[in-house]
Amino acid sequence: MSDLNSSIQAVHAASSPGSLIQAVRQLAQLQDPDAIPMLIEVLGYNNPGAAIAAVEGLVKLGDVAVPILLNNIDSYDYGARAWANRALAEIGHPHALENLLEAASNDFALSVRRAATKGLGSLQWSKLPPEKQKTAQEKALQALLQISVDVEWVVRYAAIVGLEGLAQQQPAFVGPISEHLQQRGNGEPQLAVQARVVLALQRLEEKVP
């Protein structure tokens, strides 16, 4: 039996949370694109350790996992959806933009929203054709600005991380994003979020020529 088949079988056969994590780690280590569907399935097993291992495996596989992830987002299981969005965010391929925009702005689950929101700031724009980059970045910016005034602190926190990431990549955004963060900081009720604003501003200050 091939390594892949025996590893997949080990995941199916795992009889305890610990052995499942072990089996998923092994499957992820193969870095075999044919393992992608199984790794995605694991995201729905409600086992955080196994899901973390599966996400790490998917992220290592990178761009090749993106279309399969996008086609297999589980609309009924928000736990699985959060992990899938985390994987998409970490891989950072801009083909995930529409999915991340939708998840960040409209999902009901905070775990999904915060993962997608952070991801909007860390896409690898250079993988888009040059003429499409600006529009795509504008979309991410508009969404993040809106999300940064959300009612949930953890979503606002994620939006600040996202805005900082976006400004790090697009020098033209440093000015407007810094200005927006400055204003956000003043009205922010949660001390932790205020502190994150200060950190983002400090890091962006170094970017200003």
Binding site: S111, K118, V154, Y157, V161, L191, A192, A195, R196, Q202
Partner: protein, 268 residues
């Protein structure tokens, strides 16, 4: 009248609590007044009255309305309710005692400390399960947590033995209280060890405790625990904010606070 949520108005909630025909309406009204922080004098008076209620009884002899009234009063920030809540610590109903201890903690009322210490009488030997009930003879977690917040070093000798209580959540509550009273890392480390507990509910409990006491050296271990990121984020937020508040200017970022934020960023 303005509608304030969940289909009730302040006026209607007070009417519902004042009537005695429908115990369900009273029960809900008491909860509602707390939930929406309706601290008008009339609401307080009616909730105080509800603490003496005899009409609403559960099959096991408990007092459902008293429980909800005691919980609500903890949210309303009105010092005059303290003596009545202290009397509730002697209630025959375990859940009334638990609610009262939690509410007294929320109110930040140190005058109840002797009454809380009383409930620890007999120490760990006396802290046994009630046969046939899912709880111990006293609400030890709530008592210990309240002592951690409200007490002084004078209570340490009463709390310390509970580090060896057979129920792990009680151990955590003792460690949490002792850390708050002493700021000694040995107690914070007890909670960090709790993050390795085999059962998820215990790991969650340790996460919440670490966040509540702001044990900064625990931050990396929190980030690594096998538990939901949502809880880890809440725990780290507690630690970060506690640390920031201890500084002269909260928004001057130390390398510690930057490290905690980095951990939080990675958990999004």
């Amino acid at each position: 009248m303005e509608l304030t949520g969940a289909g009730l108005t302040l006026e209607q909630a007070l009417i519902n609590l004042r009537q005695t025909q429908d115990t369900g309406l009273r029960y809900y009204a008491a909860w509602w007044l707390g939930k929406f922080r309706m601290s008008t004098p009339e609401a307080i008076d009616l909730l105080l009255l509800a603490l003496e209620d005899e009409l609403d009884r559960s099959p096991d002899g408990g007092y459902p309305l008293r429980r909800n009234a005691a919980r609500a009063l903890g949210k309303l920030n009105e010092p005059r309710v303290v003596p009545a809540l202290v009397r509730c610590l002697d209630s025959t109903d375990y859940y009334v005692r638990e609610a009262a201890a939690q509410s007294l903690e929320q109110l930040g009322e140190s005058s109840c400390v002797p009454a809380l210490v009383q409930l620890l009488a007999g120490g760990v030997e006396a802290a046994v399960p009630v046969p046939g009930k899912p709880h111990l003879v006293q609400p030890y977690e709530a008592i210990l947590e309240a002592l951690g917040r409200l007490g002084t070093k004078a209570e340490i000798s009463h709390i310390e033995p509970f580090l060896e209580h057979p129920v792990q959540k009680v151990q955590f509550a003792a460690a949490r209280a002792l850390y708050q009273l002493t700021q000694e890392s040995q107690y914070g480390e007890r909670l960090v060890q709790g993050l390795q507990a085999e059962k998820l509910p215990l790991r969650r409990s340790a996460l919440i405790d670490l966040g509540a006491v702001g044990y900064l050296p625990g931050a990396p271990a929190i980030a690594k625990t096998l538990a939901e990121n949502s809880l880890k984020l809440i725990s780290l937020k507690g630690i970060l904010e506690d640390h920031l508040r201890q500084q002269q200017d909260p928004l001057t970022l130390s390398s510690d606070s930057i490290q905690v934020m980095q951990l939080m960023d990675d958990l999004l």
